[in-house]
Symmetry: D2
Subunit: 272 residues, 4 copies
Amino acid sequence: MEQFPLTAKKSPADRTLVNIGALTVGEGFTVIAGPCAVESREQIMSAARAVRAAGAQMLRGGAFKTRTSPYTFQGLGEEGLRLLRDAGDAVGLPTVTEVTDAGKVALTAAYADVLQIGARNMQNTALLQEAGRAGKPVILKRGFYATVEEWLLAAEYVMAAGCGDLILCERGIRTFDRDTRNTLDLGAVAAVKMLTHLPVIVDPSHATGRADLVCPMALSAVMAGADGLMIEVHPTPDAALSDEEQQLSPESFARLMGDIEKTVEFKRSLDG
Amino acid sequence: MEQFPLTAKKSPADRTLVNIGALTVGEGFTVIAGPCAVESREQIMSAARAVRAAGAQMLRGGAFKTRTSPYTFQGLGEEGLRLLRDAGDAVGLPTVTEVTDAGKVALTAAYADVLQIGARNMQNTALLQEAGRAGKPVILKRGFYATVEEWLLAAEYVMAAGCGDLILCERGIRTFDRDTRNTLDLGAVAAVKMLTHLPVIVDPSHATGRADLVCPMALSAVMAGADGLMIEVHPTPDAALSDEEQQLSPESFARLMGDIEKTVEFKRSLDG
Amino acid sequence: MEQFPLTAKKSPADRTLVNIGALTVGEGFTVIAGPCAVESREQIMSAARAVRAAGAQMLRGGAFKTRTSPYTFQGLGEEGLRLLRDAGDAVGLPTVTEVTDAGKVALTAAYADVLQIGARNMQNTALLQEAGRAGKPVILKRGFYATVEEWLLAAEYVMAAGCGDLILCERGIRTFDRDTRNTLDLGAVAAVKMLTHLPVIVDPSHATGRADLVCPMALSAVMAGADGLMIEVHPTPDAALSDEEQQLSPESFARLMGDIEKTVEFKRSLDG
Amino acid sequence: MEQFPLTAKKSPADRTLVNIGALTVGEGFTVIAGPCAVESREQIMSAARAVRAAGAQMLRGGAFKTRTSPYTFQGLGEEGLRLLRDAGDAVGLPTVTEVTDAGKVALTAAYADVLQIGARNMQNTALLQEAGRAGKPVILKRGFYATVEEWLLAAEYVMAAGCGDLILCERGIRTFDRDTRNTLDLGAVAAVKMLTHLPVIVDPSHATGRADLVCPMALSAVMAGADGLMIEVHPTPDAALSDEEQQLSPESFARLMGDIEKTVEFKRSLDG
């Protein structure tokens, strides 16, 4: 496969470490967790405490949601950004949230530690460039319609705009199969790791759309060589305003974190 | 298939007519033509004269291009908008151009008669909403990754923002098959026409990516019930800065226009 | 795209005419019609009379059905072959039926004028070879999972086994989109006609899975350059034992045949 | 997702153990290895010794190959069956080989311990039924075009014909993405394990088509809950007559087996 100027590995050992406060992504293994959307102060505080207690290193939560339908919950907007910031500060975790429009980059960057570009916006070049100029680390999700080459070219847009602290995130692709929400493409994770020096994480929640598949896919992702995971956790999944089928309860997440930690340690011993 | 509040047909005969100056889309058959990108004053003037002479009713040309790679031609920006405007005025055709970012809607609307939202931005909700508020007709391309339901829901975003003058455009979907650039989905054209009152046009240039397939697919689209076509025409296709394989020469386009006109007339007699 | 030794056009005008009794496929336009499955003597006789009266030139009907589930109707087997033969003889139409296993080729060839290889068996090489040796014309459906190249290579298997009288049939491909049963790929029809001398027909019934889309897609297929159509017609579609949503009633089919004939005539005038 | 009468789990702990001589699939973890095709006595003997030495529990090798093109190596036929049998006997491993046609089931069953039905034949119902009647365990690969539901229904055909000793094998699905040969669908492995009592194994060689991805995907498959792996190993991969890019050398396979064994043990401790 072709490589591109800014994302390509210069040597087999070439790897970028992304520093986010005291956290370094690309070294060790990073788990980002939190609800699909910030819904209220109580909800995000509760989620923050739970994911912190279970060992997650970053808090996620959506304030601007890009939903398929205009008639579903669209997020709390700036109030959501503020609540996420407060929750992260309260538990001592850096935060990441999705930015869905170039015009919202500055506002979002004023609140969040890391900017996330979602799958539907992977080829929104105005957003890629504006996010790349914001002076914050960026997580770039793979479009559910995108080849690995197109994903790397989207990353080139972000890096060419000035962002060196970029993290790639595989979250499943759209196929004929509808047994799962998307088809998690772990082969692409292993393949892209050979091409680029950037850290690559996996989102098993969106990839599968089913809470019962998040655990096996999270552990599979560790063995595929992922540098981290992004997992949806909600204090009360059944009451969630979006993605209710795929969010883990705090209890399930705590159990999963135990398994993830053991698997990461096992993988490290295997790699020697 | 489900229907949605703003896009749904109220009765089998319910249809929206979109007025653009003296032109009415949804009545008769509308052909929009022009180059992939505005490249220079001479190029767009030459293209405008050619498509006008052949009988096209609207001029297209890209000023802001969303390209897969940041290292390819990105369009002339505002200068491209100005040149397109001048060319349209010179030959007496309304113009349509793609807007790729919510922040560019006002600028683009100041120059163009119709705003186009491209396939990669079909779920860029900030853009959908801003374009819907601009007071101009909008052409909404189907994402190459989108179901008909998702396409209609994207249209709901535009209409909910205030735009009643919306035109849908099928331009091919991404499948396992790579014999053509995309797979033109004429079944979806016939299916969506049963669901919505909005006009539906077809872009055989992007759908096939091959100039030699544009002609048969254009005529097939007429028989599938399309309300119009959007076709890429370049004065010198071999020298085009983008999409060189799929743009028609003025001579080929003129021949095709003759066939389209006859086919539209035949279709009318058949339906009549 | 690559071409292959037996299927490739030797010159732009190179075309194979397949003779089936008094009928010549590849010259003029051929409509094959009949029920998904032969269900009873009355049903197939009624269907045969109806499609004959409407102007179809060949009768289809399945005796051995390859169903997704073993718990659905699997066809009448040899009794179905006999009933189809009798119905074809009674109305004076040649017959085509699907053969699903190399071991059934001789039996099927003893009854039918043309052997059909279905989409699910496009890469059943034992069947391709056995059918190619049977001394009968063959219709080879494109697998719903197959590229044009793989389709042509499957045709090479049949021709290499000795069959020169081969007809290709596009019947839709499987994509992420489920608005229609499959996605009819008319671009592939136009593309494959440029590569091969073999006649290419279209099956809009399986491609769309919806009776209301069969008519527009049939006419679109004519304009895409197809040499014929295969259409499912059942005396009483609502009572059909399989594919009930996509079979036309005799009345609908008769109306469609009128439109097809006019469209074929129009296409000829356009090409002429 | 729907469940079906013969394949459905009766209770969460319901699982079928498939006995093949002294080997039990569905208990512990089973690795099947060997070349894509049997090419010569020396080649298969060399492969058999290598995979045995590395710890594989079953020997694979193709005698009847279903190739896309009729102009590529089609396998040694019955001579290949005999050589595989001899090699298995020589090293004391049971053997599995693909049967590609209902007419070859008896012949193949006379030589092999396990019959494999390949992805292209997953809906070849005559073959499914004949293999189900052969009195031998069967491995049923998922079609690269098949949903989990269709895969289970194909399994119902085999079981309804009398075969209780059935093993399912995921080997990648066809998607728009061509970075890997197919897209390995580990989510489907975890999902199907919840639905059926049958053992489920994974073929990372066909799924990825790249030897450098076989290792990470094999370990990921263990964590996804697979009951075994089928891996292509060739004494001299560069000289292989088919699938040369994806076959492992004996040295690579031996290293991988060490990692697989440790991962299986780790997984057991995690589950335990």
